[in-house]
Symmetry: C2
Subunit: 341 residues, 2 copies
């Protein structure tokens, strides 16, 4: 499997991207990575590293996209950026997937423009995995679409279900709608409409789920619009960080704090691992015709390696084929249901 890695994307690129790629090709069988970016910088990062040389190549590009650049201007003006060229490599068939921790707005817009959508999809969405007390769940959409209609959320449910089934290995993923009360009639205009549609069309739909229950509850897939999803994701990230910091503050102020902390070091480490975004690495942009993984802007080398791993698993398990199939079936079912009325 060949991955085009936007080697200039992310706050700490290219050292983290190169390091992540090196770790990945050593670990995953049959994987090769094309580092897309400034050849001189990438060669220099690679120098002295041990890895199977035939599994990493460099595709030179002259431009990079800034983290705060607007998608439209970047797409128009930067045809030789690392993001654009990495995506072009997937379009031309030279790579099977693209991974980028760069400007996510630009990645989304470019992927949509260059690669197009899977048949039947109205809006691609970002699916991200989050930890819960027992296991994990998929949150979709985590930020691709800020203003949505019920049909979009319905489609997100189909995409999230495929992710949970094939990547999280959940046999019959339970799908819930993120809302402000469990009762059917609670929510805003969007979720109330979506609730009715999901109830009719998704056999594993378990109803509305409140924010407090996503980390405890039964849902394997939590569906929402991208504005709400992005806020949910970022609040979780921010709070996990803040609680760890608050706890450390408190610990440093108690008499036996340091000793206690030393004794609990492993527990804290495991805990951090459980809530750390870099363990999950990246989030697929589902609904695009080809595989596109978006990494966290603050990605470490470990996060990049895990984003590559996620692309590897998606490819290995042929999730896009399955998704395309599921999607067609589900769309067909939907049409039949609609026709029945």
């Amino acid at each position: 499997m060949r991955i085009a890695l936007d080697a200039m994307g992310g706050d700490h690129a290219p050292s983290t991207t190169v390091e992540g790629a090196v770790e990945a090709v050593k670990r995953f069988k049959g994987l090769s990575v094309i580092l897309v970016g400034d050849k001189a910088k990438l060669s220099s990062e690679l120098r002295g590293k041990e890895y199977p040389h035939s599994h990493i190549s460099i595709k030179h590009t002259s431009e990079t996209v800034d983290m705060d650049e607007s998608p439209i201007s970047a797409m128009r003006r930067k045809k030789d950026s690392s993001i654009r060229v990495a995506i072009d490599l997937v379009k031309s068939g030279e790579a099977d997937a693209v991974v980028s921790a760069g400007n996510s707005g630009v990645v989304m817009a470019t992927a949509l423009y260059v690669l197009g959508k899977l048949k039947g999809v109205e809006r691609p969405a970002i699916a991200t995995v989050m930890p819960k007390l027992e296991g994990r769940f998929v949150l979709i959409d985590a930020g691709a679409n800020v203003d949505c209609k019920p049909v979009h959320l319905l489609q997100f449910a189909v995409m999230g279900e495929a992710y949970a089934k094939h990547i999280l290995n959940v046999k019959d993923p339970r799908i819930a709608l993120l809302g402000i009360g469990e009762e059917d009639a609670k929510g805003n205009e969007l979720t109330k409409e979506t609730f009715k549609a999901l109830k009719n069309l998704q056999k594993n739909f378990i109803g509305n789920i409140e924010g407090k229950d996503i980390f405890h509850g039964e849902a394997d897939v939590v569906v929402c619009d991208g504005f709400v999803g992005n806020i949910a994701l970022k609040i979780s990230e921010g709070l996990a960080e803040a609680t760890t910091k608050m706890l450390k503050q408190e610990i440093s102020q108690t008499a036996y704090g340091k000793l206690g902390y030393m004794l609990l070091k492993d527990a804290f480490k495991n805990f951090k691992k459980k809530i750390d975004y870099s363990e999950y690495g990246g989030a697929p942009l589902l609904g695009i015709s080809k595989l596109c993984i978006i990494g966290h802007g603050r990605s470490t080398a470990r996060a990049i390696r895990n984003a590559i791993k996620l692309a590897y698993e998606f490819h290995d398990k042929k999730v896009l084929d399955a998704l395309s199939h599921e999607f067609n079936v589900s769309m067909l079912e939907r049409e039949q249901l609609v026709a029945k009325r």
Copy 2:
């Protein structure tokens, strides 16, 4: 000061409400509480407790509202419910404020119907206080209005500012808009429009704030619609609980875990206190003509006491008068600004 307490409201009422009221009248000078609810049950809860007897009275009601009852049906059918009668006592001037941890939808609808809005307010909103690394911040709206227009969010900013100024004692509260990126142009239709208006009309507006920054950032007031706000609040609550549980799981699995935990017991206790909703007790429904505090459905006696304390502080500092004044000034300023164009 006289508070009408919905003594039947909350998952663990009336034992928690009576206990909370007893603690409150012992602690706060000049406070008296009218327990509204089933007289026999309330008398039985009071029996044997020590408190200044003249400071607690009972107003008998024959009905109670269930937690999942719809606001409209409860308002129509239950004129002698503890919620309704407690609010009626404020209307008639027999009490200065109402506190209820009962069905919050019913409390909101009844308060709005019986007490009406402050002059100039379009939609009352729930303001809740949340912890951040240094200090606290006000989140508004935390759930009263699910579908909002920019003018509503503008008004929430004015209300949140008054709360932060008078109750959190922040001299010039910094106001931020909850969104999905710091850039001015990021957000959904609602927040993009609101951003422009806040920039023109609120001198302490510091721009958009992302979910991850609310616990670290500079904002004293975070403004959003009630759907997003409720999800933000509930996710924070759920995650704080889940992280504590996850950490305990990890601790129980390490060799020196129990010893380490014992040494850190105080730190964990202080930490829990910092993130525990019951420390904050209740959330005012701002924009109503009289003082109305909504408690958490799962309120403990401590949470009830703190909700009463919050009502006491609001009354003591004459926040509603200040809010009414601020509101008129701010509305006047707005009209002037609009007239200028």
